[in-house]
Amino acid sequence: MTAADVLGQFLSGLARAGVLFLIAAGLSFIFGVVKIVNFAHGALYMVGAFLTYSFRVTLGVPFWASIVLAAVCVAVIGIGMEVFLFRRVYGRPVADQLLLTFAMVLIIHDVVRLAYGSNLRSVPRPPLLAGAVFLGDVIFPSYYIFIVLTGTAVLLGFWAFLHKTRLGKTIRAAVGNREMVACLGKPLPWLFTAAFAAGVFVDGLAGAIGAPLGGIRLGMDFDIIILAFATVIVGGFGSLPGTALAAFIIGEAYAFGIWLMPAIALSLPFIIMAAVLIVRPWGLLGRSGGGEL
């Protein structure tokens, strides 16, 4: 075991953390603002990946345009879902929300099955990012650098949006006190739609960027969505810095777990989650009672 091996494994964990954060960020943000636990989040992530395949491989759109287009399409689908369906269950018991969002999972799965079948699809990495960067003995695939940078950009982007833009500030205010914001004449439902769209856009982006990582197939969301939920819980529902920290911890725990104690590596994220729930039930950077982004 050399320093290079340790660094190599650390970078593997960082790449995994980047992917996890991209998926979990939207989930956490949407919960933070509109207080809905969106089970369909994973399904929309899968849609993002399949749309990227359609744009890039079927239609031959350049890679960068494909991922943006896919993310935008997912955001549009998300807006439709929010306006026509989710709005009706805000404030309803959690069970109703779960039923509705879970129904969306089933519907999206069947639509994807109809449109794409159940065969495996593959999106090649763009030539610019197909190789790797060499740091002495340590190899880091360029695509992972792109993922980590995108994750960082998303984190900073959300922060800037919430703290520096008027819309963001209004959304924060609405999270703190809905009635007051409504009294000031702000269109509350549309604020929520905007927030939902932003969260789903990042979700679609995660699917698009995740597409060239491995294979794209029906059910790819189930494999990752549970980890994404664990990440959000560890970080604190609604807290984006918390989600980033949790993704980092879980990604690294997984990477070093696989290397050093493979027998328990798979359960490590959940052991961490259980430990956090015992000590800080509201998550690492969440607040008890919630309410802060």
């Binding site: 075991m1 050399t2 091996d5 190599g8 494994q9 970078l11 593997s12 964990g13 790449a15 995994r16 992917v19 099955r113 079948g117 159940s118 065969n119 495996l120 593959s122 090649p124 990495r125 197909a130 190789g131 790797a132 190899i139 695939p141 360029s142 695509y143 992972y144 995740g210 060239p212 990582l213 491995g214 294979g215 197939r217 029906l218 059910g219 790819m220 189930f222 494999d223 990752i224 997984y254 990477a255 070093f256 696989i258 290397w259 493979p262 798979l266």
Partner: protein, 410 residues
């Protein structure tokens, strides 16, 4: 008038008698119902689809040629979703409600084993597996209604190990296999055989990723840190696609030799698969140059617009095995067909094989070769193929008896 009335009465009576005599004959003409239960969605979806497509092709061919014992064949296809509970539910439904006469399936070893022990055995329905291949269904958990016309997990691992052991510089092995029935058993067989043939071989580490794993990076970096000469893998489809894609930027394939499952189904999903990998498969269309294989390949390609992968080849064979069994028995009665299948010698697309009576395993081969790109195909194929005959890699009768006895003790 009266006369003609009598005449018509007589005529209709005669007709009635004739009709009632014909009834049993018509009942005999009802189709032979075959339940097809396999994973058409989930991690092995494209495998299951190809297998089911080949069965439909075979059934149409058989029907066009007059059926089996003069009766048409009717398939009832069910998706078992790569889930044990769904597999049992669907297979039970096929037997109890659809009243199928035979079962073909399954795809995942876990699901197949479950339908074998809790449906085929329970309801005394013959089940023939053409894809799912855990050896436990013919050894420890063998039940007499189950037949297997695919090289079992052990045979596959053993065949790959026999060729790997011939590479003098391959000493330190790392293994990576799916964490379920098939992955564990096949890797176990590989390691056991390679160590037996080459006492100098060392296993420097083993990884067991879950079937749904999408990110193999931590596995790749930790394997490379152990600096093995060769990595044995039984990943397939989505997992293999992700693994190869993620290993390429690390220069993985320049640094270590790779032994991989190389079925066309997976190779279609992994266009990036490098050349020079030691690949093993259960019998692709390009592995045999016989007129039968050519005819089948053309018919399949024309109808479905994709190449018949090994799962299609084996599925097609399994339907014809059932046909021969029924014809030899002269009836579709389970006990008679079962007796006919035991010891049956049949000519399939991969050659002529015999089903052993004591474990119901056909002596089918495993094909091992080196990956190479071929401009004719949009996927890598194998060259310098060694067709390892079933007889060389199967358990002997004594081995089967010992393993069954050991399992019974537990």
């Amino acid at each position: 008038m009266l006369r003609s009335g009598r005449y018509s009465t007589a005529l209709s009576t005669a007709l009635l008698v004739l009709a009632s005599m014909a009834m049993p004959a018509m009942a005999q003409q009802q189709p032979i119902k075959i339940g097809v239960a396999g994973d058409l969605s989930g991690a092995a979806a494209s495998i299951g689809q190809a297998w089911a497509d080949a069965l439909k092709l075979g059934a149409d061919e058989i029907n066009a040629a007059g059926g089996i014992l003069g009766r048409k064949v009717a398939l009832s296809v069910r998706d078992t979703e790569f889930k044990v509970d769904v597999g049992i539910r669907e297979a039970k439904d096929l037997v109890l409600r659809e009243k199928v006469n035979f079962l073909l399936g399954g795809i995942s070893s876990g699901v197949s084993l479950a339908t074998s022990t809790s449906v085929s055995k329970e309801y005394k329905i013959i089940q023939i597996s053409a894809v799912a291949n855990t050896h436990r269904q013919t050894v420890e958990l063998f039940q007499r209604y189950f037949f297997q016309v695919v090289p079992n997990t052990f045979m596959e691992g053993r065949a790959a190990a026999m060729v790997a052991a011939k590479q003098p510089s391959w000493k330190n092995y790392y293994t990576i296999g799916y964490d379920y029935e098939f992955g564990r058993m096949q890797a176990g067989a590989f390691v056991e055989t390679v160590k037996k043939l080459r006492p100098d071989v060392k296993i420097v580490g083993q990884h067991w990723p879950p079937v749904g794993e999408t990110d193999y990076t931590p596995y790749i970096t930790s394997m490379m840190a152990a600096k093995p000469d060769v990595v044995y893998s039984n990943l397939f489809e989505a997992g293999l696609a992700a693994f190869v894609k993620q290993a390429l930027p690390y220069g993985f394939f320049q640094k270590v030799k790779f032994v991989s499952f190389a079925d066309v189904s997976s190779m279609m999903a992994v266009p990036e698969m490098p050349e020079g990998v030691l690949g093993y498969t259960r019998g692709e269309f390009y592995c045999e140059n016989t007129p039968q294989m050519k005819k089948f390949t053309e018919a399949f390609l024309q109808r479905y617009k994709y190449y018949p992968v090994s799962y299609a080849v084996m599925g097609y064979d399994s339907l014809y095995v059932l046909k021969r069994g029924i014809e030899k028995a002269g009836t579709i009665e389970t006990e008679a067909v079962l007796k006919a299948l035991e010891g049956l010698t049949y000519e399939g697309l991969r050659g002529t094989f015999t089903i052993r009576a004591f474990d119901h395993q056909a002596d089918v081969p495993e094909y091992v070769g080196w990956t190479v790109k071929d401009p004719k195909y949009p996927f890598v194929i194998l060259k310098d193929i060694v067709k390892v005959p079933g007889s060389q890699i199967m358990f002997t009768e004594d081995e089967v008896k010992q393993m069954r006895a050991a399992a019974a003790k537990k």
